[in-house]
Amino acid sequence: MTHFFLDDDLPVGTVYGALLNDRATIERLTPQFDRPPYKAVPKAPILYIKSRNTFAADGDVVEVPADPGEVRVEATIGLVIGKIATRVSADQAMNHVVGMVIVSDLTLPHENYYRPAVVQRNRDGFCPMSRMFTAQTGFDLGNATLSVSINEKRVYERSFSTLVRPAAELIADVTAFMTLTTGDVLLLGPGDGAPIAHAGDQINIAVPGLGDLGHSVVEEKLS
């Protein structure tokens, strides 16, 4: 089995993303939660998996299908697990994190979250990841910001101060029901109103105090 490395000696394990982890998204969707298909507000973390075919590196070219010819760039930070974590308390959670990655979590746009979005989220190359960073002195994940530029124009900014579950709480609530193991990556999830990119675009994501990630998007060739 070939591995995708976050670091010279750390192959990536499983990449999990947290849906609905931004307070603005929850506020926007709240009027829908009482109605079908959801019928209730989300309780536990809602996760999705970025399968290994989605892994891509800094500088890669990502193909998007001609239909719809666009992707949503759900840029985020991924927590890299350095020590196996089962039923970890929020107090202890960050001791299980060895570093962070910047991730361009790509998805075909979708607004209905009833069924797993494998068709939208798990296309080849749809998870470009930076190498693993360790935070620079003074970096505060709870107040970190991230910006997305498309073709060198800044189109989106978000803060990680508005998460429903900040990093430590997310690890605690996830490991309450499943183990995260060394090399696994837990994405903090999409920000609300994530930008759309089209074939031909160059995407750059920057997190001050952590690092950056770039990749381009081209139309898929059906050879």
Binding site: M1, G13, T14, Y16, L19, L20, P36, P37, Y38, K39, A40, P42, K43, A44, P45, I46, L47, Y48, I49, S51, R52, N53, T54, T86, Y113, Y114, R115, P116, A117, V118, V119, N122, R123, D124, F177, M178, T179, L180, T181, D184, L222
Partner: protein, 251 residues
């Protein structure tokens, strides 16, 4: 040929089925299957599962469903934390009121598959095994359903014991499959009742994502799922593929 992975006397071995269904070590020694610790038969890559892929199971659950069998396959993914080998233990959460097994034919991919046509799809299958893909229905939420908390719990997807070569399974859509709980048959179906069949699933999946050797597709379960309790011994069996034994324990 049937192949597996086990731990015996502190070592991990790739083994095959020997005489009288016994486990044959690389040096030729033959062991009873109860003498060894079973690992999942392959180091699996991407684990893909199908929901609602048997007509009768869809009917069984239909009152709470908004989909029909005409829809695209209901596909979800699982992590390796969910896997446990033959004769393993699966924890049942103390607060669960309805946790059920699901006997499923697992299809293992043998080589890289991208945009494969159904007509050629079976060339990419290296073999088959049995899976018991437990679900804890108490934790169902209507977001990315079946949500990860229901379907990706540690050791809640038993798989094995053997990977059976595809060449030894002439028709994977003509296999009886059944589940016994403490010896009593509770689920009895046939892979002929799959809604989306294996070649169509491979065509569909590889139109979305490149599959690689070691990726596995759990093809869904027929009706007859019942609640199970700590201490229950659950045997999921598929004719010609194997009998997978699992025991529920208190979490």
């Amino acid at each position: 040929m049937k192949r597996g992975r086990i731990i015996f006397e502190g070592r991990t071995f790739d083994v095959k089925e020997g005489k009288d269904g016994r486990v044959e070590l690389p040096d030729g020694r033959l062991l009873q299957e109860t003498e060894v610790q079973w690992l999942p038969p392959v180091e699996f890559g991407t684990i893909i599962a199908l929901g609602l892929n048997y007509a009768d199971h869809v009917k069984e659950l239909s009152r709470e469903l908004t989909v029909t069998s005409k829809d695209a396959p209901l596909v979800f993914l699982k992590g390796p934390n969910s896997l446990v080998g033959h004769r393993g233990q699966t924890p049942r959460p103390a607060d669960a009121t309805f946790m059920h097994y699901e006997c499923e034919l697992a299809v293992v991919i043998g080589r890289t598959a991208k945009r494969v046509r159904a007509a050629n799809a079976m060339d990419y299958v290296v073999g088959y095994t049995v899976s018991n893909d437990y679900a804890v229905r108490d934790y169902l939420e209507n977001f990315y359903r079946p949500n990860v908390r229901v379907k990706n719990r540690d050791a809640c997807t038993a798989i094995g014991p053997w990977l059976v070569d595809a060449d030894d399974v002439p028709d994977p859509h003509a296999l009886g499959l059944r589940t016994r709980v403490n010896g009593e048959v509770t689920q009895d179906g046939s892979t002929s009742d799959m809604i989306h069949r294996i070649p169509d699933l491979i065509e569909y999946l590889t139109s979305i994502m490149t599959l690689q050797a070691g990726d596995v597709i759990l093809t869904g379960t027929p009706d007859g799922v019942v609640n199970v309790q700590p201490g229950d011994v659950v045997e999921t069996e598929i004719d010609g593929i194997g009998t997978l034994v699992n025991t529920l324990v208190t979490a």
